[in-house]
Symmetry: C2
Subunit: 413 residues, 2 copies
């Protein structure tokens, strides 16, 4: 079996994307023991770092050892008891996922939907809350399947007024778009590393409000194999999953350090580095970098005589949908981009399958050179496949976007 030596792909799809080199290096750091004060020190650092990333004071801010959907499932299965009502506004594939996971918890799941490419007004969600009276509202912030970003800033106040727990999955958006846990009054948030945070999939940071923690704390349970006489279980029903039992995981991350899983140390090193990388650049600066790269890519694809998808006023900064012209085969274009130029752009699924490409500009790849290389490669491939376009204008359009932000762009020079 050969040594790992993958081709140097430039990953400009909806994620995963190329990792920041420092994040990759962090993962090759040798381990220390699970309860070594050095390791528990790193765990505490990770909690502090992700409080900053999530913009929260929540004590309970830590990692779930799994991909981003592991974070989703942990939040939902720990909170939902069979029969609980859950409201899920669906504006893309990941709304369906939240609904499906809640269904498997035997929640009574209610959904509202808008067409793919749109988002909800707060009033639509409030009306549904009034109709359904759910225990929990679960909504995705950024859904890569449609490139849309659901505004969340008014939903916390609505949820609080109606005594509803407010949960959002911000995997695709965090680090590239504003996200303010406390200001927006969220009770639970889960994310992944593989989008704007610039790491690989495999660790899911979460943050939990006191209200959420109090609720799931009633379902606290200690494993038989490590139980001592001073441990007592909560009154509410036992959480259906051991792996995703958040009270147990909190006892592991907390001062009691009760053994649960063995923390995935290399992924913790990685998550730590992703957060430090973001905070060193600054959250606002990083979001601005994503906005500019996204604007440049959008301007560029328009100049390639391509039509962007969806409600652009609610597009995520970090990904754009682009209609595949009738005159070309979308998969042939992707194939040539990948094999001839080592650049990956994304396909789509569900109602958008075969209709749009998704082109990302996120994390390490929210860079001017990555935008430029992608646009000129796309120009070459489209031109050679018979798509009519004005030569050179995509690069010019993207240059123009960067020129407007020159002062900030030049800070690094």
């Amino acid at each position: 079996m050969k040594t790992l030596s993958p081709p140097p792909r430039l990953l400009m799809g909806p994620g995963p994307i190329n990792c920041y080199p420092r994040v990759l290096s962090a993962m090759s750091t040798q381990l220390v023991g699970q309860y070594d004060p050095v390791m528990t020190g790193y765990m505490n650092e990770v909690m502090a770092l992700y409080r900053q990333v999530f913009m929260t004071q929540n004590e309970q801010t830590f990692l779930i050892d799994g991909t981003s959907r592991a974070g989703i499932e942990a939040v939902l299965v720990s909170a939902i008891e069979p029969g609980d009502k859950v409201l899920v506004p669906i504006f893309g594939r990941f709304g369906h996922l939240l609904a499906e996971i809640a269904e498997r918890c035997d929640a009574e799941v209610h959904t509202i939907e808008v067409p793919w490419g749109e988002v909800f007004l707060p009033e639509q969600i409030e009306q549904a809350i009034i109709n359904v009276q759910p225990k929990l509202l679960a909504v995705v912030q950024g859904d890569t399947s449609t490139t849309m970003l659901q505004p969340l800033e008014h939903l916390g106040e609505i949820c609080l007024r109606h005594d509803v727990l407010f949960y959002s999955d911000a995997t695709a958006s965090i680090g590239g778009n504003s996200f303010e846990t406390d200001k927006w009054q969220l009770d639970a948030v889960s994310v992944g590393l593989q989008k704007c945070l610039g790491g690989p999939s495999g660790s899911a940071p979460v943050t939990l409000s006191e209200r959420y923690v109090e609720l799931v704390g009633k379902r606290r349970h200690v494993e038989a194999g490590i139980r001592s006489s001073h441990h007592s279980d909560g009154q509410s029903s036992r959480i259906r999953s051991n792996y995703f039992d958040l009270p147990m995981i909190m006892d592991y991350w907390g001062s009691e350090r009760l053994n649960h899983h063995t923390e995935a140390a290399s992924m913790l090193y990685c998550a730590r580095e992703c957060a430090i990388n973001l905070l060193e650049e600054g959250i606002d600066s990083t979001i601005f970098r994503h906005k500019v790269a996204g604007d440049a890519m959008l301007a560029g694809v328009k100049a390639l005589n391509l039509e962007p998808f969806g409600d652009l006023a609610h597009k995520m900064h970090n990904v754009v949908g682009v209609y595949i012209p009738d005159t070309v085969d979308g998969e042939i274009i992707r194939h040539q981009m990948l094999h001839d130029f080592n650049i990956e752009i994304g396909t789509s699924f569900g109602p958008l399958q075969g209709k749009i490409w998704r082109i990302g500009t996120m994390g390490y790849n929210a860079r001017q050179d990555a935008v430029f290389q992608t646009l000129q490669s796309l120009e070459s491939v489209l031109r050679r496949n018979g798509h009519k376009l004005p030569l050179g204008e995509a690069i010019d359009a993207a240059y123009d976007v960067y020129a407007k932000v020159n002062p900030l762009q030049n800070e690094d020079k």
Copy 2:
């Protein structure tokens, strides 16, 4: 926040342990896209590699993205429908864990127990099977909490005769002790990387027999967000977890490549390297290396005037329990080992808390120099804490064990 620079600990506890350097390097490899033929090629390689590691022809051999208990939960929650009978022979902490996870699936869980430090005879397990008539037998192979290795080689035939599914968690033992999935007629096996395979926690290889796959296939279900008209769901009850839904995960690893989670690529690189490392050394050679290191450590601790714990005829090769002498404080010894010598040895929990240390010799650390450094450091620390011991004899005893296997030991020279 400082750059990661942990102290160079020698991890001689019950795991996690130091990773092989090549495994750490593999994790710093840059990513390719999720459906890139290079990535799906790596996924297929991982399946082929772990078939060799597990010694099986099972097509369904792949990774669960999480720690070893994620693999346990995936196997159990996918197979168990509420009310199903599950039999768990418990000989340590991880038997309790299997029972607890099965309980959370609403199985009717039956347990049999032996005192910590012993294992079961096949006849004891067969008698319980006759009494309980379970759907599934779930048993740990090696339980680090007691250092014991449960013999499995006669259980497959018993299970087949009584029409019982046979599942084992071999996280702590695989790679350091014999494990033969097909010869022993197992239906499901889950492991982790962080013991004898010499990787970090965070990926859980599993293998599933055709019988197991057929059973869980009846619970197949396709997510709404990616469903097409040719997908149809199975007749049996839906699996309670999305993240651990093995039929869905099989559809992702299989030729259909139906999207489920985003594969944790860096952990996949890592799992791939762990397997290659094992297979290049050879499974038999690696197990022998673990046996010799374990024998040397056992001989050494005896020469330190320490008493080993449990039924030594059924000890795992890769970890030994050692009674803490009445004359010393076990935690002070561990503290001095860690802080003065950078060597970690393990504590214990449950009924053995405060009674034994657990000293591992596994993976990268199943090495002569690691055994010697641990023994002479332990000698120094014990002596300085007033434990009576004959100076130098531990090293001599360990040398004697290595001397007996000199021909093989010298192969590398």
